[in-house]
Symmetry: C2
Subunit: 244 residues, 2 copies
């Protein structure tokens, strides 16, 4: 049964954040990323695929023609499968940041960087990621694709950061050029790592919450490291066993 | 004096690698990146700017109208300045990789990743970067922009990697999942760090030249780290002072 115009229009509208919010749904496309998310147990609400796609497991698939796929896809060159998920936002409980390791992203706009940071949080088994509301939208396809499946495994909250950090007991680590050597950091059990945008750095309200400024030793001429590279080095340090 | 059609056509043609190679020139656009490259002393051959751009130093500028800038720009939204540089390729001398620290990129296609890796090489003052010929072109605008000025400071060679590594005396470090703990690596004075593409990993010919396989300890579910994040963690380790 062919898709109705209304169905096609609904799926295409999910390109825009305002429609995702209104409908409570998001779209992701591509054999690799959908395969990874299904393997991670992500409960998609709808799956559309051409005959070229063989579903993993028992997911219910709506078969569409290549022409229909081209109409519902958000890309000029559609993949063989498109999945729809439900937006789910876990509220950040008061005091949640006091326990475990948190990566807090302060206005990072680049969706590829946000996805790469989710992979870092997943690799190092951080307890959660908090996104400031003014950064890239967690439910944009570019973020989900760049996360390579980590989207399904990492606990992510969206919350105003300065408020979330107020009154917390865990040290708040901020990277800048004049802090203590990151290599001297012990393997902290509880900590928040705040990462600012590359263009603007940390917002003043978040910078005011930083309790430990850390610096990655620099040997050459670059002004900065990419935000995800810096976060990776800090996380690797925090997960090192204490020196004997 | 307005630009001629031939001049406009020449500048636009530099979007494509084959024309860059034929003319021996490349283009970069944008106030920030050109400012950084001029500050780093990069000797541009030509500079085109609208009245909105104030040149740094004594660079000779060809003033163009906004309409002309729109015609020579490679972007839909042109900046106020466009610079032309000469392609310069330093040959890789035999035995060059035996001394100092080298970052070798094996077929990394994503220009943003290549630029981020140049920043890492610059930050950690590596001695050189070697790009395999099948990766992103060093002289594409996206690479130069993502390098944030490091393009002007890092010594970069383009060379077939497996041949360049043959017969070398420096250890060749490759990241994978079954190697020795990266944290156990000493601060090597001479080493080559090879980084593969995220999709395909190291090519078999390059993988065969790896003499030390190193692993970044993993705690969670991600299959891999972004290539630049992994390179940053390895470089940070190599630059650590030896433990007391």
């Amino acid at each position: 049964m062919p898709l109705t115009k209304a169905e096609i229009s609904r799926l295409r509208s999910l390109q825009e954040k305002k429609h995702r919010e209104a409908l409570g749904l998001f779209v992701v496309e591509g054999e690799k990323v959908i395969g990874e998310l299904l393997a991670a147990g992500f409960p998609f609400a709808e799956l559309y695929a051409t005959e070229a796609w063989a579903p993993a497991g028992t997911a219910a698939v709506t078969r569409v023609s290549p022409t229909e796929m081209a109409r519902i896809s958000h890309y000029p060159t559609p993949a063989s499968v498109l999945a729809v998920g439900r937006l789910a936002r876990a509220p950040l409980a008061p005091g949640a940041l006091d326990r475990g390791l948190t990566l807090a992203l302060d206005g990072i706009q680049d969706p590829g960087n946000v996805g790469t940071l989710l992979r870092i949080a997943d690799w190092f088994a951080l307890d959660r990621v908090v996104l400031a509301p003014d950064g890239a939208d967690l439910f944009s396809q570019k973020v989900i694709n760049a996360s390579m499946g980590s989207f399904a495994r990492v606990r992510v909250h969206t919350a105003p950061l300065a408020e979330a950090l107020a009154g917390g007991t865990a040290p708040v680590l901020g990277c800048d050029l004049g802090g203590e050597d990151v290599h001297a950091l012990p393997a902290l059990r509880d900590a928040v790592i705040v990462i600012g945008s590359e263009g603007r750095g940390l917002s003043p309200a978040v910078a005011a919450r930083v309790t430990r400024r850390v610096t990655i030793p620099k040997f050459g001429g670059a002004e900065s490291l990419n935000a995800a590279v810096a976060a990776g080095i800090v996380c690797d340090q925090l997960r090192r066993p204490a020196r004997g």
